[in-house]
Structures are given as C-alpha cells and as structure tokens.
C-alpha cells in the first residue's frame, strides 16, 4: 500500500512538473520551435488513435489519412466565418446551408470528432467483416474515396483549391490539452473491461468469442473511438496549418502515422507518445540532410527528401532487430522505473518520464 501512495504522489508531482514545463516552453520557445512542438501533440493523438485500432484491437486498418481529412474539413467549415467562406469559394459558391454556420472552436472540434466517428462507425459496420490484409485494403480504399469526394464536392469543400486562411485556433494549450486528454482517456479505456476485451480480440478472436465477448461489436466500437480521435486530430491540424486541401490527406499520410506506431511499439500508449514526439522532432532536426552536404569525400548540392531515407533505414533496423518497437506492449510505470534502478525503491525522489 505504501508504494501505491508513493506512485500516486509521483504522478501528481510529474503532472505539476509537466504543466510547469508547458508554461516554460510557451515563454521560451520561438515561433518556429513552437509550431513543431504543437505538431508533436497532434501526432501524439494520431498515433494513439491508430494504435488503439491496430495495436490494441489487432485490426490492420489504413484509413487514417482519409478520416483525418474528414475531421479537418468538418472542423474548418464549421469554424470559418461566412465572410471567409465567401472569400474561399470564388470559383463556385458554397452551398447556402453551410454558408452561415459559424461555431466557436470547441464545438467545431467536437463536431469534427463526432462526424468522423460516425463515418468510422459506418465504415466499421461494413469493413470489419473483413480481416487482416483485406481489411487493410478496404480501409485504404475508403481513405482514397474520402479524398476523391473532398476533391470533387466543390460546393461543400471548395474542391482542389482547398480552404485557406483558417483562424489559427490551435494554440499550444489546445494541442497539448487535447493530447493529454486523449492520453488520459485511452489509459482509462485500456484499463477498463472494454480495453481488456479489445486486447483479447487481438490475442485470440475465437477464445474471446467463447468467453462471451461480442467480438464484432467490440471491433466496431474500437474503430469508432479511433475514428473520433482521428477526427479531433484532423480538426486541430486544420487550424494549425490554417490551409488545407485534399492532397494533404493522400493515403501515404497514414504511413507516416504507422511509422510512429511501429517505432513506438504496437500496443503501447507510452511508445506511441515517445515515438510521436521523437519522430516529429527528428523530421525537423534532420532537415539539414535535405540541404547541400559536404562529407569531405562527397559534396551534394541538396537532395530534397533525403531525410526520409533516414526514417526508412530506421524502420528497417527496427523491423530486423527489435520488431516489438521501442516499448513492445509495455507501458511506463513508476514501478518499472524502480525495477531498472532509475528510482529508489522506497520513499524516493521525483523523476520525469
């Protein structure tokens, strides 16, 4: 019992330290670093959302790019002012019922999540009858269908022109506040009997069914929650970039998120968070690779995309030498820190994880 209260105290202290850290970052980071920092939070949500379906429920789904697009457009169209919409839709006017809709950010974001969740539910009811590779192909196809619809439904989405000049609502507090809320929600979900049911389906579907678990219903539930979270991330992304167009939600975007999930550990919340931050930061840190390089024996004059080679190589190394990724299916815990000797076993000082 004593170690229990120590852990609770540590968690409380770490939360305070975390919030303090956010204040410090807000003060010290320049605008550019801040943008990267916010993107980290959005990628955390995306990775967690994909991990819920792929890692915890064991369903190989590749529809996240499209679902994200859906969330982004829903949120943007609800939050833009009628004047902004009129400015954007100069080729073909926007449908009248959408013109005057103008909501604050929070309801727009929630509506984006709910709408994406609803579409995810529809897709789930149909596609979750498939398994494994077939499910992956079906969801990938669905993702592309969304993108094509976004490109062609000009009176609603402004087509290939995209939406520009969205209000810059996604502040550091919105991004990280959402990421923290999503993390807490997922931790509680995974610890609940629903989470256990998800994991049992991943481990052995037939046994799960024999235990009386409604396997299909649970799969649809997991897919719907994942879509909801993906829609929220899409909404945050739209008001972070302030410009969206259908090309951004090309299906390859899903693989950026999949990279994070695989590197962090399929089935680990901690892994997804750490990997999302690390990958997002490295994407910027490694930007010098795209510029002119002088290696002494080799001089290049800038090869755009070279930094992606680093991630490809990293992914290969992980697949060959550490298939379970950074964390496997383990999670961060104070006791685990104590076990590996980073924390005294009793009493103890705080350590940030």
């Amino acid at each position: 019992m004593k170690s229990m209260s120590r852990n609770a105290w540590l968690t409380f202290a770490a939360s305070l330290a975390g919030i303090a850290l956010l204040f410090v970052f807000e003060e010290t980071f320049d605008r550019f670093t801040m943008q990267i920092f916010k993107l980290c939070a959005i990628n955390v949500i995306l990775a967690l959302s994909l991990n819920l379906i792929n890692g915890f429920t064991g369903l190989f789904s590749l529809g996240h790019a499209g679902l994200m697009g859906l969330g982004a457009y829903t949120c943007a169209l609800l939050a833009m002012t009628p004047a902004q919409k009129e400015d954007n839709f100069f080729l073909q006017p926007i449908v009248p019922w959408l013109l005057d809709v103008h909501l604050p950010f929070l309801p727009s974001l929630l509506a984006a999540g709910l709408f994406t969740g609803f579409v995810g539910w529809l897709l789930g009811v149909v596609a979750l009858r498939l398994r494994d590779d077939y499910l992956a192909i079906a969801t990938l196809g669905f993702s592309e269908i969304i993108r094509v619809v976004l490109t062609n439904a000009q009176p609603i989405t402004n087509g290939a022109l995209g939406l520009k000049g969205l209000p810059r609502y996604t502040t550091m507090w919105w991004a990280w506040g959402s990421a923290i809320a999503v993390t807490v929600f997922l931790v509680l979900l995974i610890k609940s009997s629903y989470g256990r049911a998800f994991k049992s389906i991943r481990d052995n579907e037939i046994a799960a069914e024999a235990m009386g678990i409604d396997v299909f219903g649970m799969k649809v539930l997991s897919f719907t929650i994942s879509s909801f979270l993906c829609g929220i991330a899409g909404g945050l992304l739209a008001h972070y970039l302030t410009t969206i167009d259908p090309k951004q939600f090309f299906f390859l975007k899903t693989f950026d998120i999949l990279l994070i999930v695989v590197l962090g550990g399929v089935g680990s919340i901690t892994g997804s968070i750490v990997a999302a931050i690390a990958v997002t930061a490295s994407m910027e840190i490694l930007r010098f690779l795209d510029g002119p390089l002088n290696l002494g024996f080799l001089v290049t004059n800038g090869t755009p995309g070279l930094r992606m080679v680093f991630f490809s190589a990293l992914l290969m190394i992980v697949i060959i030498f550490r298939q379970q990724g950074l964390m496997g299916t383990s999670e961060f815990s104070w006791d685990a820190l104590a076990r590996i000797g980073l924390l005294p076993r009793r009493g103890g000082k705080e350590r940030d994880g």
Binding site: R196, D203, I206, M211, G212
Partner: protein, 235 residues
C-alpha cells in the same frame, strides 16, 4: 440437464453434423470420442453458438439455447475450454482470468472465484502478473481451464484438453476434471485420448463422420470390442 436433439451443422456444402442427439445429465461427466473430423469440436462449437447450427435443438434445463448469442449461453452457465487452449498470450494471468468472468453480472463474487482458481492451480498464482504466452503447454492448459472456471460454469465443455501435453500434465488435467466435477460442475469432454476419457466418464458417445455411432457407460465402452479396435489400438 443438457439435451441435444438432431443437431445439424453444414459447412458450405459439407454436412458436418448429421443430426446428433445426446444427453448430458446434471452432475455427470459425458465424453464424446471419435476420430479426427468426426464432428466432436463442431458439436461443442454449435452448442456455444460459435458455429451456426442448421437444425435441431439444444435444451438446457428445458430452455432452448440454439440461436442465442454466445454471451447469453455463457451467462446461462455453459462454458467452453476451446481446443488448443487459446489463451491470450500477450495478457497476464490475471487479465486472462478477468476475461473469463467477462460475461458475469455478479462482479462481487469474481474475486472469490479467482482465489478458488488459484487454490486449484497454485502455479498460476505464483505467476499472476506474467504474460501467458511465456507459459509451457501444460501451464497454458491450466490457465485455459482456470479462465473457463471464472465464468462460473454449470456445464464445462472441454475440447481436447490433453492435446499435446506431457504425460504428467495429462494425468493432472484428468485429476482436475474429476475435482471440478466433484465440486458439482457437469462436464462434457471431447477427447482423442479415448482411454483416459472413458475412465473418468459416466457415459461415452462414439462419433463417426458426423453422427453418433453408439454409446454406453464409460467402463462398458472401455471393454467394447469396437472401441478397443478403433480407438484403443488393439487388434
């Protein structure tokens, strides 16, 4: 009493179960023996609602079970230990056991049952936070049985519990079956190990290609000429 009448199952064009009938009296041990592909597992899966029956009836204390969702069947006390153990390898022993109690409404009694399972299998308690995938075959079978007991079964159906186990574990599993039965749980046992199964069973049914060939008392069948020839390897 679980009474099965004319149960039929089709897999596509294949008539896998051709109208079988059998009775499992309350408190008894009934075994279903037969060669590979005779339809033993299909019978259990059809009772659980895991495969759809194409005809017949499964009455549990007079109530029709066929067509009900698996969850309701588990809740009414009919529980399956699936073939090949099928534990949840990435989950801990504790989580596996909790999933056994998934369909139960009486949450407060679950912990007492967990203790009872640990009493039966002390080895599971020692490793309650360990991942089940790291266990040996025998330990996994113990866990599979323990997980099924967490559903508070009135009828425990076991599909090939001795499959692929070391002789020591086989003996242990059959001891456990006797103990579970002595505690008042009805057992329906599917086995390829006909000798061991008939030794514990009150009644045995011999299945042949989707139908019941013949039946009799456990001891009686052990001495039966046809059983000895076909399943006990005697000429």
């Amino acid at each position: 009493m679980l009474s099965i009448r004319n149960l039929s199952v089709h897999y596509g064009g294949i008539h896998a179960l051709r109208g079988i009938s059998l009775d499992v009296p309350a408190g008894g041990i009934v075994t279903l023996i037969g060669a590979n592909g005779a339809g033993k597992s299909t019978t259990l899966n059809a009772i659980m609602g895991l495969v759809r029956a194409s005809g017949g009836s499964v009455a549990w204390n007079g109530e029709e079970m066929l067509g009900k969702p698996t969850k309701n069947i588990v809740q009414s006390g009919i529980v399956l230990v699936p073939e090949g153990r099928r534990i949840f390898p990435n989950l801990t022993v504790d989580e596996n056991l909790s999933l056994g109690a998934y369909a139960r409404a009486d949450r407060s009694e679950v912990e007492a049952d967990r203790e009872r399972v640990f009493g039966l299998f002390p080895r599971l308690e020692e490793r309650r936070r360990q991942k089940a995938g790291t266990f040996s075959g025998g330990e996994q079978q113990m866990l599979a049985v323990g997980r099924a007991l967490m559903s508070k079964p009135a009828v425990l159906m076991m599909d090939e519990p001795s499959l692929g186990l070391a002789p020591l574990f086989v003996r242990m599993i059959f001891d456990i079956i006797r103990q579970i039965n002595a505690a008042g749980v009805t057992v329906l046992l599917v086995e390829q190990n006909a000798k061991a199964a008939l030794e514990v069973a009150d009644t045995g049914y011999v299945m042949e290609t989707g139908a019941i060939g013949f039946s009799g008392g456990g001891r009686e069948l052990l001495d039966d000429e046809r059983v000895r020839r076909a399943y006990l390897g005697e000429i």
